[in-house]
Symmetry: C2
Subunit: 365 residues, 2 copies
């Protein structure tokens, strides 16, 4: 146990600080994973997840792992050996999709974009005449870019659309059913305001009926997991694995709070805080990295000013302000900062604190 | 959020109630997964895990999923298509091993035993002349039976020995290095006294060097995960996925407590409590299910008395005493109870409470 527990402002690309309700729920007395009270909690959690996904899919549930498990679950249940997967790549998580899909034995058709740019929907749609799946990242955590999943859904044809909503869920408009998302996965540790460890997941009935019957992974087999949340055709519940009950209680509490605020109000709050931060950074003379018009409010990417050592400035923020911000990814590791305002941190106080602290860091680091 | 939070005695097969330190740590302010303070916490957690595993393996870490993810990680990294896996089956989790191994494309040589019996080491060793792996469950959660992994290790030959220690870790003598365990996986929610959600995992250097180079799973790829805990050959840390930081903090706190108690003292405490419960149940005229001499102290299986409705009695315990015990598994679903005394529940008070409550339940349910 640490002797002095740090109290960080988590303004990086995630995890964010959780909502207080989510933290409190972690400390509730534990319930067994088969307890009737836990089943009620799990059902309420799945109902809350349907609201933030914008879906009525019965198979909407928190997977027992992080967002990357959600990604692999999406591909392993939809791709058989030799199937074609068209994957839009405009950042690290699109790259990861290619790696994961290829391990399913799929033929990956990769559509590359410059980092910092949104996906080009027409180019992705034209990449292959008849893919099994088309996959794209809604909000690229590595670059701070929002892509138009709704437009991609309108041109997907017979392909299943897989969307990564790890950083968008709870912070950006997301309407899985209206946009034609067949399979979606997310994380809890960004705009949902919960600690990392669960992957909110949704799959439509149509996609479920086209799933791989016996996927190479047992842990991620949606045919078995469907029973776990009572979504199988028989309607009964079947034991699959021991649910991470404390984390589910925490997610439920955060979703209840988001419901009380209203999901559209939560989106607007993230939008307002992010735009205010971006304006403030530009007023300080800094240049934003993501393409204008496609910038995520909840995750701002900004170029490290000339003459400033990125790592030194981040260490200065951590030491003097207990503030964590993120470095860049790949070739931008030392030249871009990633600054998150997610969940409870999407507010004016965080913006004021960040702008003041960053100004000092640039001067002193 | 529930309006009245139940306060259960979790005396089933798991999850158990957590240690108070583990619950408190869940509420600590969250750290980023790349925070230098978190890295210290993670290193301390891995060190604590080495103590409860009885190993010096550098690649000993909490995987970001439940015990079943640990099982799949063990097989997916050791079995290529066509490899032979000899699997001892004396309960549900041995059966699950066969399913998981076959999804890796392995040829599974299944060695069946009656439920309630320990594995027959000689028969397992003789099942195939040259298997890639031999796998067995140390403490079968479905039957309450302890098997002799040390003896299996002494006859494994060139095979890699995979051991399931989900229910034994922290509660029964476990010496991975001395016994020749090459790959081991466990869970947090039993005798370690932490909520479910992490899979303590260990793999020896020798087994790591014989691993599948590109396993079919990206999320479970130990070649990538080695870097995540600084155990890769270069010594540096690499980003793989966002660690479930709150759960890791909780595990660390429980391991610190177990270290303070002394792991051998923790084993002895589980032994004393379990034997006292078993004697008490027999004194009430009940019959134990697991074979004598091979009974787990931390998980007692007992036959439901004639004329008693298993589900009604369990509902009576839940309603009147806030006590959860487990039903049986498979064909024993309605004829066996599974009663756990794990982690903080392995004590005289739990035994007294259970014996009194079960006596009432049998009379009144």
């Amino acid at each position: 146990m640490p002797t002095m527990i740090p109290n960080r402002h988590l303004f990086g690309p995630g995890p964010s600080n959780p909502y207080p309700e989510a933290t409190a729920a972690l400390g509730y007395p534990l319930l067994g994973h088969l307890d009737p009270d836990f089943i009620t909690r799990l059902d309420n959690t799945c109902e809350g997840l349907r609201r933030v996904w914008g879906t009525t899919n019965s198979r909407t549930l928190p997977l027992s792992g992080t967002g990357s498990l959600g990604m692999e679950t999406a591909f392993v249940n939809t791709l058989s050996k030799g199937d074609v997967a068209v994957i839009a790549v405009n950042g690290l998580f699109g790259q990861r999709m290619c790696e994961v899909a290829s391990r399913c034995g799929a033929e990956v058709v990769r559509v590359d974009h410059d980092f910092g740019q949104p996906i080009d929907v027409e180019r992705v749609a034209a990449a292959h005449p008849n893919p099994t799946v088309i996959a794209a990242v809604h909000a690229e955590t590595s670059t701070g870019v929002l892509s138009d999943i709704k437009a991609l859904g309108s041109v997907k044809g017979d392909a299943l659309l897989i969307a990564d909503a790890v950083t968008s869920i709870g912070g950006s408009e997301l309407r899985a059913d209206d946009w034609g998302i067949d399979v979606g996965y997310a994380g809890t540790q960004k705009c949902l305001g919960v600690a990392p460890g669960l992957a909110p997941f949704t799959i439509s009935d149509a996609a479920f009926s086209r799933r791989v019957e016996t996927p190479q992974s047992w842990y991620m087999d949606l045919g078995l997991l469907g029973g776990y949340v009572g979504g199988n055709s028989g309607g009964g519940r079947t034991y699959h694995h021991t649910a991470p009950v404390a984390m589910v209680a925490s997610l439920e509490a955060a979703l209840d709070r988001i419901t009380a605020e209203g999901i559209e109000n939560a989106w607007a709050r993230h939008e307002a805080a992010g735009r205010k931060l971006q304006t403030g950074l530009q007023d300080m003379g800094l240049d934003l990295f993501a393409a204008e018009g496609h910038r995520l409010p909840q995750l701002t990417t900004v170029k490290v000013p000339d003459g400033v050592d990125s790592a030194a400035a981040r260490a200065f923020l951590l030491t003097n302000f207990d503030i964590e911000i993120g470095g860049g990814v790949g070739e931008y590791a030392d030249t871009v900062w990633r600054i998150g305002l997610m969940g409870p941190n999407a507010n004016d106080a965080s913006v004021a604190l960040l702008l003041g602290a960053i100004e000092e860091a640039i001067k002193n680091a």
